[in-house]
Each structure stands twice: as structure tokens, then as C-alpha cells.
């Protein structure tokens, strides 16, 4: 059954779009836009079949989607059909500054961003799956199972875009998001910076990828990792939701 889901995710046309999970629709949209890249062979493809360059690859798991999703027996209540063990500590230090008028919630429990941090915290093993295939917990090349094993201060991979966003390494939880763009905060028309004009009104500002910012980038007016990132499409590295040429992604929200 897991195999079947993986096959679905590899679809490169819109032929069966009505039956696909929402997460796949974005991919298909990209195809329609003419940027025909998918998660397959991207850095998010941890399967044995990845022919691209990646530090992280299983030596025995050929499925692609399984590292994040499962059609059955996913973690209860965690959308979208989540198959990846979540961080044991869901509280993160968050960005703050004298001019930040938002109040990010440091507890990411229930936040979509916690899903991303289930690998990108640096300490949660990326092969810790809930519903495995017949190979069991996937074996990883070099036994590199955690981002913090490679991306840590002083390592030759430590420079940005080191994917170790949470900056845990050596198995030690850091959960440091204080030097990262804030997430898990409300960005709605009542946001003080919208009133001041330094942020665009998300309900009226075009996202540039169809619809408004609120419709295409926010989650009930909450900003998450996936407001800027599309984990399934490497077209605009690093997995950006749209091109950042002329900083157009940043300037979608920031009125600078």
C-alpha cells in the first residue's frame, strides 16, 4: 500500500488530480507552470533511487514519500498523513526584536512547522518512521540519520544553507530558532505592521502563485515554514514556494 502512494506522488501530469491529496496539487500546478521538477531526485528524496546529489540516502528504502507520509496508520491527528516521528521537545527559542510586533508561539505542538523540524531540528532521526515498509526502519548511508551529524558548527557543511535549522547536533537538542525568520505567529490584517504599512495586508496582497497571501501562504492567518517553502518542489532552491529573484518572495509580504 505504501508503494502505491509513492507511485501516486510521482505522477507528472494532471490526469488524476481530483483524487490526489492536496499536497500533490501544488506539484501539479508547478508542472502546469512549466517548471517540471518534483520531489523525486530532490534533496528531499531520501530513497535508494535518488540519482541526484545528496548527503542523505537510504541504502534499502526505495520509496520516496514514506519518509514523511503514509496513507495508513499515520500519526493520529497529524496532517498530512504524517509518518515521521516528531521532535521529543516541541518548544523552541524564537526570534524576537524590538521592532517585531508579532508574538511567535514557542511551542510548536500542533504547528505544521513542527513537521519540518522533525528532521530540521538536527537531532530527530530522519529514518524514525511510524509506518515502515517491509525493510523496517530505513538504513541510511554512512549511518547518517540526523542533520546534526553533518551540519554542526565547524563542520565542512556548516555553512548556509545547512539544513540544520534547529541547530541541534551531537544528539543534543538545541531547538534554536532565534536566528531564523519567525514562524507560528498570526499574520492577519490586524497585524500592527499591516496598519503601519511595513507589511502588506495578507488578505488582499497577491501571493504571486494564485490567490492572496492568506489563501496560498498562510494557515488560518498563521505563518509556517511552508508559507515560504514547498518541500516537494526544488525548482527554486532551497525548496522555495516561488522564485526569490528581486527578492520577490520576501517582498510578497514585506513592504520595503
Amino acid at each position: 500500500m505504501n508503494r502505491a502512494f509513492a507511485f501516486t506522488a510521482n505522477i507528472k501530469t494532471a490526469a488524476t488530480s481530483m483524487r490526489l491529496p492536496t499536497i500533490v496539487v501544488g506539484m501539479i500546478f508547478s508542472v502546469w507552470m512549466g517548471t517540471a521538477q518534483t520531489v523525486v531526485n530532490s534533496k528531499h528524496d531520501l530513497s535508494t533511487g535518488n540519482t541526484g546529489t545528496t548527503q542523505w540516502q537510504s541504502t534499502n528504502e526505495s520509496q520516496v514519500c514514506i519518509f514523511c507520509h503514509t496513507p495508513h496508520k499515520s500519526i493520529p491527528g497529524v496532517k498530512p498523513l504524517w509518518n515521521k516521528s516528531l521532535p521529543s521537545n516541541t518548544t523552541f527559542s524564537v526570534y524576537s526584536s524590538p521592532t517585531l510586533d508579532a508574538t511567535p508561539n514557542p511551542n510548536l505542538a500542533g504547528s505544521y512547522s513542527l513537521l519540518c523540524l522533525s528532521c530540521h531540528d538536527g537531532v530527530t532521526a530522519m529514518n524514525a518512521l511510524v509506518n515502515t515498509s517491509t525493510v523496517g526502519q530505513p538504513a541510511m548511508a554512512g549511518n547518517y540519520t540526523k542533520l546534526g551529524q553533518v551540519y554542526y558548527p565547524g563542520s565542512i557543511f556548516a555553512e548556509f544553507p545547512g539544513a540544520n535549522i534547529g541547530e541541534g547536533y551531537g544528539g543534543v537538542i538545541s531547538n534554536n530558532l532565534s536566528n531564523d525568520h519567525p514562524i507560528n505567529f498570526v499574520y492577519d490584517p490586524a497585524h500592527p505592521d499591516v496598519t503601519k504599512g511595513t507589511l502588506h495586508n495578507p488578505d488582499t496582497q497577491p501571493s504571486g502563485i494564485g490567490g492572496t497571501v492568506s489563501q496560498k501562504m498562510l494557515y488560518d492567518h498563521v505563518l509556517e515554514c511552508s508559507s515560504c517553502h514547498n518541500p516537494h518542489n526544488p525548482t527554486h532552491a532551497p525548496f522555495l514556494k516561488k522564485s526569490n529573484s528581486n527578492s520577490s518572495l520576501c517582498l510578497t509580504c514585506h513592504n520595503k
Binding site: 524590538p98 531564523d180 504599512g197 495586508n201
Partner: protein, 635 residues
């Protein structure tokens, strides 16, 4: 819901466009300095993940140099321990000129910028944007940042100007107090990323309170005259719209102390240069040809540039002051702001028969010497801020305060005219027997006895309110040219000794260098009526009439008897009536020439009851003239 949205949504302001500013360093930027291929705009400064420092998600490589800082004699603040504070360090990561413009955590973005960039792609020294200067460490000529406590008083500064209503009042005096790096044209004339319009220095004045600016304003606050071509650095055209920046420059100032555009006198003569200045006609106080400071006898304004270091007065509500040691000894100086307060100065010439401070001196502080016994050097002073009388300004230097002890009134300091400088506070002491009415009208000269004033017939028609009229120092001392729209009136410089001004300018000798005598008047010699300085106000001999019977006396009109045989050479004030000097008086009160009468000859004088009531016993002499007489003589 839609109604609510209309109320809360502010449309994007047109000026808030970093993409259209010089800070768009991407290939799409419009400035000289921009990337050759890089398309992203924000990334030159910001990064969304793993930023360092975290706030504000910073990514540009930081500079590690340490900076020299602004200071001045009136700067009483401390700097923060961390200098510059973190937010200003961000700006300096490009603007000190040490780090390549494209240097970010992921590598170095290639930049083109021609001569604006050094070979390492950092900002070249000499470019406007490089505020670190040639050494990349020089912030002495830039407005101070990262000011800690203690700092300035509420009398001088608006607290709310620096302390924003932000959490912890965190935004104090840092680069971002005046600049918005994301918006180039909130001040569209300056286009220096100012945080608001600085027309007429509206931005400067959010913090700075300037006396004589908001109330009782200076002509510099309102003048619609255009500044000279090339003078304005902020794009504004007039003195009023340039505001503070008519004279001050907040970055890479020409003269670091007080952030002046140039050395102090050259800041003033940037505009005040007569007709030689491109686009501007203004009174000339320059040292260029024709200017008063190019003349033979002048205040040393252009030759001393480091001596004027006033300190904050106490209470600080009054203007900065200089104590005696700041203006005496090796610190003696005469800079423009010693006599003028450019923040308070107004337009207009001084009045006649008055000593009230003239408009040009408005707002400057002065000294009122304490009255002492006759012919004693006053050494007590009351600071008057602002000065109300012109002489109070002169007294700052021409008294014990600036001269030091001189019990005889005579110092060892040789003035530009080649004679020893004397103490004017001593000479104008109201307890002296006589003095020109610079300080008080003749009737108020306490030390004088009746008749205190001259008869009105002894004066020109202008000076006809004898006894009550007063006068200015600058009635006698000033520019040798007649004042005009381009000629300044005051005692800046002159080609005549002692900077004597008026129609007649020679004293105590005539144009040929010979001492004036009554014979010149009797025989109409040496152009006395247009050259003898005293006749500007004292007719002496007109319509065939002498104005007193002393001058009328034939015996006194010999060609070898001179004005200075009886009168002091420095005719400010004396311890005898009618500015008479005694043979025992020292130079320069005593001319002390070689000939018998080329020096003071009198040994006793008693003022008569009227100008024609003098007799031989009003004067006594030891061995000359009419010898010893008996009377109650002035001491």
C-alpha cells in the same frame, strides 16, 4: 468585515521601495554600486535562517575594526560600553569601508562599482557612503551614535526624540534613528535614506532643541536666500530649508568638532563672502581679497582654529560658556562664535546713541564687569546670557577675564596695531572720572563730577542728547569701508590702525604719521576735518569757533603741542576728567614720544564748570607750560 479592513489597511507608501533605492544592490539596482548577476535584493543584508546576529536576521559580514568617536567640549555624554551598538554595527559592515559590499555568509557576491569601490569591493575612501574615512575607523567627524548614560539634559534635547515608544525604549541614537535603510526618499531632496523629511531640519529638531530657533528665531532659521552653488550637501536650496545643515554636516564633517561643514570661519564665510560667492550676495567677513580679515588690522579669527572650546554652562539652559582660562593666556582667541551666535544672529545694523546689543550679535553671551574703585582693574564679572549690551561681548577678551592681571590697565600683550593692549573694563569702570559713554551715559558716570557731560554744542548734531546717550565700541572700531549689502560693519578688520572707523580714521597721528595738534585745526592742515578721528563726533573747531576756551587758547595751538600732550592716546576712560592724562601715565596711554610735548605733560587737572570757564589753575605742570598751579586736582 470589509469596513474594518478599510479602516486598518494602509496602502503601500510609494517611498517604501528598497528595490528602487541605492540599497538595491542586486543586478536590477539603479545605483552605481550593484551586483553583476545576483538577482536577490534582501540577501545583501538579511537571511531567513541561521542569521548572525539574529536580529534583524543579519547576514552581511561584520567589520571588526574599532572606531574613534566624536567628542567636543560640550559633549557630556558617555558612550555605551558596546560601541557601536549592535544595530549601528550592521550599517558599518558596509559603510566603514572595510568589508566587501557583497560579502555574506554564503560567499562573496561580485559587485561592480567603478571608482566607488576599492579593489576588494569595499566602499572606497572619499565616497559619500564611506563614513569611516581613509582609515575606515574615523567616526570623529560623524554624528555620535550609541550614546549611553549619563547624557544630555532635557533642556537641550527632547527625550522622546531619542527614546522611541518601543519596548524598552530600545531605539536610541543609532544609525536607524535618522536613517531608514529600506527607504531612500522619505526625504526626497536629500535621498540619504532619512527616516523622515529633514526640510528645515525637521529631523534634527526631533531631538535637538535650539534656543533662538523655535522662538525668537535667528535670521538663519528663516532666510530664503539660496546657499552658494555647491554648498548644500542635502539637496535643499535655501538657508531656511537647509536648516542646521547650512553650517553642520552630520557625516564626514569638514571640521569634526561640532560637525561643521568646514573650519569655523570657513563655515561662516561659506556664505558670508560678499559678491565673490557663486549665487550669493552676503556681507563679506572673509579673509579673501577685499574681506575684512584680509586687512592689516584685524581680529585673529583666521589664524586660530583650535582655541574656541566652550563648555556647557550651569544651568545648562543657557548657552555654552568659556571660563577665564579658556580665553586668556595661550588660549586667547577671537573666533566667529565668540562674538556671534549663529543660532541667534539676526539681520540689522546697530542703532545710534545706544549701546544695546545689535542684531548681528543677538544671542551671544557677555560679561558685565563689577564696578570697582576709580582706575582699578575689575576682576569680578557677571555672566549675561544673552548679552544685552555690545560692550559685554567685547569684555570677554578685553578685560581681566581674557587679559589677566594688569593693575595699570596695560598688559604685555602687543595688539595688531603694535601697541600694548589695555583693559577696557578698567577704562569703562563707572567710578572713573571720565569715560566715553560706552557703558553708561555721561550723567551716570558715578566717578565724574559736574558738569559730567560735554555741552551739546561740543558735539555734532547727531550726538545731541548729551549726558544720556550711549555708544557702541563699534561706533569707533570697525570696518574702514562704509557698510553695505556686502560690507560688514563690525570690528572684523580694517586697514586703519586700531580699526578706527567713520569718515575720519587717523589717531593720534595724521596720515603722514605726525601727531595731531590744534595747529592743524587753526591752520587747516593735514585734512584734519576729514582725517582727525575725533571730529567724527567732536567738531572741535567749526564755523570759526572753538568749542572750549582751552583749545581756543593761542598758547595751546603751537605746532609742537599735540592732542596727546594733554589727552590719553587710548581715549576710552581715565581716572581724570575729560580723558586727560598725566605725565606719570604709562604707555600706551602716554604717547611717550621724544619731543618735549610728544608725551603727556600735565601733572594736575581740574574740570571747569563749563567749556569756556577754564583758567590757568585748571591745569598744573611741574616744569613746562604754566608751571605749578594750586587747585583740587583729579588724582
Amino acid at each position: 468585515m470589509s469596513v474594518l479592513l478599510c479602516l486598518t489597511y494602509t496602502p503601500m507608501p510609494l517611498h517604501a521601495q528598497v528595490a528602487q533605492s541605492k540599497h538595491n544592490l542586486s543586478v536590477s539596482g539603479s545605483g552605481t554600486i550593484r551586483a553583476t548577476t545576483e538577482q536577490e535584493i534582501c540577501k545583501f543584508c538579511h537571511i531567513p535562517h541561521k542569521a548572525s546576529p539574529s536580529v534583524p536576521l543579519w547576514d552581511h559580514t561584520m567589520s571588526s575594526v574599532s572606531y574613534s568617536r566624536y567628542t567636543s567640549s560640550t559633549f557630556t555624554s558617555t558612550y555605551k560600553t558596546q560601541y557601536p551598538s549592535s544595530s549601528s554595527k550592521l550599517c558599518l559592515s558596509c559603510h566603514d569601508g572595510t568589508i566587501a559590499i557583497g560579502s555574506i555568509s554564503t560567499g562573496q557576491i561580485t559587485i561592480s562599482g567603478g571608482a566607488s569601490l576599492d579593489p576588494d569591493q569595499s566602499l572606497a575612501a572619499g565616497t559619500t557612503s564611506n563614513i569611516g574615512g581613509a582609515t575606515s575607523t574615523n567616526l570623529t567627524d560623524d554624528h555620535p551614535i550609541s550614546i549611553g548614560t549619563p547624557h544630555f539634559s532635557a533642556a537641550q534635547y527632547n527625550c522622546s526624540g531619542c527614546h522611541y515608544p518601543r519596548p524598552n525604549n530600545i531605539v536610541q541614537v543609532e544609525c536607524v534613528r535618522c536613517h531608514d535603510p529600506h527607504s531612500e526618499s522619505k526625504d526626497g531632496a536629500t535621498k540619504k535614506f532619512l527616516s523622515q523629511s529633514n526640510q528645515s531640519s525637521a529631523l534634527c529638531r526631533t531631538c535637538h532643541k535650539k534656543t533662538y530657533w523655535a522662538t525668537n528665531p535667528s535670521i538663519h532659521q528663516s532666510s530664503t536666500k539660496t546657499t552658494p552653488t555647491g554648498w548644500s550637501h542635502n539637496g535643499y536650496a535655501t538657508v531656511a530649508t537647509n536648516g542646521c545643515e547650512s553650517c553642520h554636516k552630520p557625516h564626514t564633517a569638514g571640521s569634526a568638532t561640532r560637525l561643521l561643514k568646514a573650519v569655523e570661519q570657513n563655515t561662516c564665510d561659506g556664505c558670508h563672502k560678499g559678491t565673490t560667492n557663486a549665487g550669493v550676495t552676503e556681507k563679506n567677513v572673509s579673509s579673501e581679497s577685499g574681506g575684512p580679515f584680509a586687512k592689516t588690522y584685524r581680529h585673529p579669527t583666521y589664524t586660530m582654529d583650535t582655541k574656541h572650546n566652550p563648555v556647557n554652562a550651569s544651568p545648562i539652559t543657557s548657552s555654552p560658556t568659556e571660563i577665564s582660562t579658556d580665553v586668556s593666556g595661550s588660549n586667547r582667541h577671537a573666533e566667529c562664535p565668540d562674538c556671534h551666535n549663529p543660532h541667534g544672529a539676526k539681520s540689522g545694523l546697530h542703532a545710534v546713541k545706544s549701546n544695546s546689543l545689535s542684531n548681528a550679535l543677538s544671542g551671544v553671551w557677555g560679561l558685565e564687569p563689577t564696578a570697582v574703585a576709580s582706575w582699578t582693574q575689575p576682576n569680578g564679572f557677571t555672566r549675561i546670557d544673552p548679552a544685552t549690551k555690545e560692550y559685554q561681548v567685547c569684555m570677554k577678551c578685553h578685560s581681566y577675564y581674557g587679559l589677566g592681571s594688569a593693575p595699570t590697565g596695560v598688559t604685555t600683550i602687543i595688539g595688531p596695531s603694535g601697541t600694548n593692549i589695555t583693559d577696557q573694563a578698567m577704562e569703562y569702570n563707572i567710578n572713573n572720572y571720565s569715560a566715553h559713554p560706552v557703558k553708561v551715559g555721561a550723567n551716570s558716570q558715578t566717578g565724574s563730577y559736574a558738569p559730567k557731560a560735554l555741552a551739546s554744542a561740543q558735539m555734532t548734531s547727531v550726538w545731541n542728547t548729551v549726558g544720556t546717550q550711549t555708544m557702541y565700541c563699534s561706533d569707533c572700531h570697525g570696518n574702514d569701508q562704509a557698510t553695505s549689502t556686502t560690507v560688514a560693519q563690525g570690528p572684523h578688520g580694517s586697514n586703519y590702525k586700531y580699526m578706527l572707523t567713520g569718515t575720519a580714521k587717523y589717531w593720534p597721528t595724521n596720515a603722514s604719521g605726525t601727531l595731531w595738534s590744534l595747529n592743524d585745526m587753526r591752520s587747516n592742515l593735514n585734512s584734519w576735518s576729514t582725517n582727525l578721528f575725533c571730529v567724527n563726533c567732536h567738531p572741535l573747531h567749526s564755523g570759526g569757533q572753538w568749542k572750549n576756551n582751552v583749545h581756543e587758547r593761542d598758547d595751546h595751538q603751537g605746532s609742537n603741542i599735540y592732542c596727546i600732550t594733554c589727552h590719553v592716546v587710548v581715549p576710552h576712560g581715565t581716572k581724570r576728567s575729560r580723558l586727560i592724562g598725566y605725565a606719570t601715565d604709562p604707555s600706551p596711554y602716554n604717547y611717550n614720544g621724544g619731543a618735549t610735548y610728544a608725551k603727556l605733560a600735565v601733572s594736575g587737572f581740574r574740570k571747569a564748570s563749563g567749556p569756556f570757564d577754564y583758567s590757568e589753575n585748571n591745569c598744573t605742570f611741574n616744569s613746562v607750560c604754566h608751571g605749578n598751579q594750586s587747585n583740587t586736582f583729579d588724582p
